[in-house]
Symmetry: C2
Subunit: 457 residues, 2 copies
């Protein structure tokens, strides 16, 4: 082992302390001192006493070193943007946190330079077909390999015994799954349910074409029909970040697991998921929403075949350009966290994203505490097999509740020029809103700053 990379426990703790001090100074404008919280690195070290302490030191050292570097960049940016922000915020600029547009990862990919640049010649990938011998004939082998490798490295899903179906985002795969799981010419459409609060697009995507195959049937907790149904299990859940399991648990139930957020920057990876039908997407794992690529892991061959048929009829396959780009991105993420032969100059993607999410959650909780008008859910700490650390989930969305007399939280925040998505879209009361945690740094800072100053309704 390279001795230069092995720091003593004392060094790590000093750096960790420096980081926490940096965070306190950095977030000083919120107007409240941070409660002394043990950083993930501290926890990580505790957990890693059960592991090879020397190896874990390298990991934690690297994390801290990278964070220090990131902090430097951010502080510079922040200095500039603070001045800019003060002017802008004086004018009451609208902050849009309605959508989950994952632009916060942009700066990581900028740091990666040419490593993830995709180059495609005009004559390449012209055909509709990727591999006609395969069930999913439009799936690029390179993309499939990158998916399998990354799941293995992260340990969040079992790919063995599953067919991979690529889709134009997991949105298309969701619809493909409904098509595949519902028999044609049934006497009535199949009921589709999910426990409230559920992803606001589920009812819209299910019902917009008034399909005879399936129909949205609302909150899974209230489902009482004694007929076949599909239950959508989103874990971690969008919008509230909770870890979920099926709630109906009746005969004739078919489960679709939406695991868009089951990645180690958002939640501890407790086990490799091995469900019948699992959905993933690059938009939330790596932040490439504009690329429109998702994938399904499907046990049943006939279901995978029908999902492929849906995509054939809906869009005649999936863009090769995007699959190649997604493959390159997933390979880079894999390389950055692969202990075998990883590029030492590259910061592990999940370290970067984990630390940024952790920082943002701290920042938001401080703002909420300062304001006293809102509350946020608490999450239990759990051990993450991927990072070897215990931590609380730090979801991609914050599920904010307006306390006291504020009944319509979305309208209330809109009055403060903060756009969010209200509870009624998610099947619950309007005291809740969903807030994207994935915005660009400047907007997120502006948001927490403004939120912390809202003192009365």
């Amino acid at each position: 082992m390279d001795k230069r990379r092995v720091l003593s426990l004392r060094h790590v703790l000093m750096l960790s302390l420096a980081l926490n001090v940096g965070l306190i100074l950095r977030l000083g404008y919120v107007g409240e001192n941070w409660r002394a919280e043990q950083s993930v690195h501290g926890l990580c070290l505790e957990e890693k006493q059960y592991r090879n302490i020397e190896a874990s030191m390298v990991d934690c050292d690297q994390k801290v070193a990278h964070v220090s570097k990131t902090k430097l960049v951010e502080t510079t940016t922040w200095s500039t943007s603070t001045a800019h922000k003060e002017v802008e915020d004086g004018g009451g600029r609208v902050i849009n946190l309605d959508h989950g547009d994952p632009t916060m990862y942009e700066s990581f990919w900028q740091q990666m330079g040419d490593r993830t640049t995709v180059v495609i010649s005009g004559w390449q990938y012209i055909s509709y077909f990727s591999d006609v011998t395969k069930l999913c004939w439009f799936l690029e082998p390179e993309f499939a390999r990158a998916v399998i490798r990354l799941h293995k490295l992260v340990g969040n899903a079992i790919t063995e015994g599953h067919h991979i179906v690529v889709g134009t985002g997991s949105t298309q795969l969701f619809q493909a799954a409904l098509y595949a799981l519902c028999p044609p010419n049934a006497s009535e459409p199949m009921s589709v349910v999910s426990a409230a609060p559920f992803y606001s697009s589920y009812p819209l995507m299910t019902d917009f074409l008034e399909s005879g195959l399936y129909k949205w049937a609302g909150d899974a907790h209230k489902f009482s029909k004694n007929r076949p149904y599909i239950e959508l299990v989103t874990s971690p859940n969008n919008p509230d970040g909770s870890t979920r399991q099926a709630v109906v648990n009746r005969n004739q139930g078919i489960l679709v697991h939406d695991l868009a957020y089951y990645w180690p920057q958002y939640t501890p990876i407790s086990f490799p998921a091995d469900h019948d039908l699992m959905l993933f997407t690059v938009s939330k794992s790596t932040g490439h929403a504009g690329t429109r690529i998702g994938w399904a892991l499907v046990k049943d061959q006939e279901v995978a075949r029908k999902m492929t048929k849906f995509i054939e009829l809906n869009t005649i396959g999936v863009s090769k350009d995007s699959q190649l780009r997604a493959a390159k991105i997933l390979q880079a993420v894999g390389d950055s966290c692969d202990p075998v032969g990883s590029d030492e100059e590259v910061q592990p993607f999940f370290d970067y994203s984990y630390i940024l999410m952790e920082k943002r959650w701290k920042q938001l909780r401080a703002a909420v505490k300062n304001s006293r008008l809102f509350s946020l859910p608490d999450f239990p700490t759990a051990f993450c097999n991927f990072s070897g650390c215990s931590f609380e989930p730090q979801p991609a969305f914050a599920w904010l509740k307006c306390e006291g007399e504020i009944e319509d939280c979305e309208s209330f925040l809109r009055g403060h020029k903060i756009l969010t998505r209200g509870g009624k879209h998610f099947g619950v009361c309007p005291k809740y809103v969903r807030i994207s945690m994935l915005e660009r740094e400047k907007n997120f800072d502006l948001f927490t700053q403004r939120l912390s100053t809202i003192q009365s309704w």
Copy 2:
């Protein structure tokens, strides 16, 4: 004007003659002499007597010179592939011409080298959004500009007064149009019709989700309901290449014009189309089927808005990577045929593709004549405003009829290991099949060679 590029009429006619002789020699293996046909260049010269003769000489000279160069490449390839072919054909290799996979353009794009190479960094185009101020918020401005410019140069569609909606191929836009044009919660689904023979995917795309909004109602010629309907007008038509107009022409009719093949390599551009809703796609215009990009030109703002909504619900927008690639390709096609500032080293794309289609149609007609078991439709010659030439349509698909006692042409050809798509898929009798004219050179040669030798049933 560069004098080196101006050849006399005598030179052009000599080259044209040489080309025709070349074609006869090239297609000698078909076993039949070609009937003496006036080449497009001859016709072109006649037409251009009404134009600036000197300028037209440059065009025609360039075409011939390029064809000569192309011929050289093809002859070399052909020599190699003939030997290969004889072995392969001896073994009775299956030739799949069922799909319209436009791989024939691959060699053109290879010749273009780096001019159409797209390079995208990992941090670019991460967001879902392209321009939130625009009706179609996921439309890349660069792609929109390329579309407008190319339509202007080719003169095949009016873009002024139309909104551009980008889609994951025109297949998705077709479904978006149905969604946009059918009122929700109607007492019964809207009828969707098209004159037979119609594109085989229309019924499937319309009915696969058993939508309550719309329903396939078959051949437009047989439509008799006195209720609102949507008529799909495909011109040039897939599968038979005919030029089309609406046939129902009743009140309460809404037209969708599928103009995927209204490009000058397939048909004379007689006028710039100016319909309410027109669909186009890169897969058939430039051959980039794997990129999955199409566009709609839509007059009515509300229809454009609802189409955008469909794409939002179906796939949350359209891949940015593919839009950028498509923009680059369309720009290159535009550059290659833009009289202002075009790159002299670049062969105009529509010259290349026109000449290749012309050659293939001659080759196919010779094979059909040799066999005597089949027939092909004839097309009237028309003047093309784009090329300044008169020519017969040379469609992307051949609509082949089995003559005599052969009732099921698809099965008959399958017996000869030629896969095609039978008439019943297009709403007509099985004596017809659709054959892709867009295959790679080797497969197309193998096909015409084999077809010409089929002498009896």
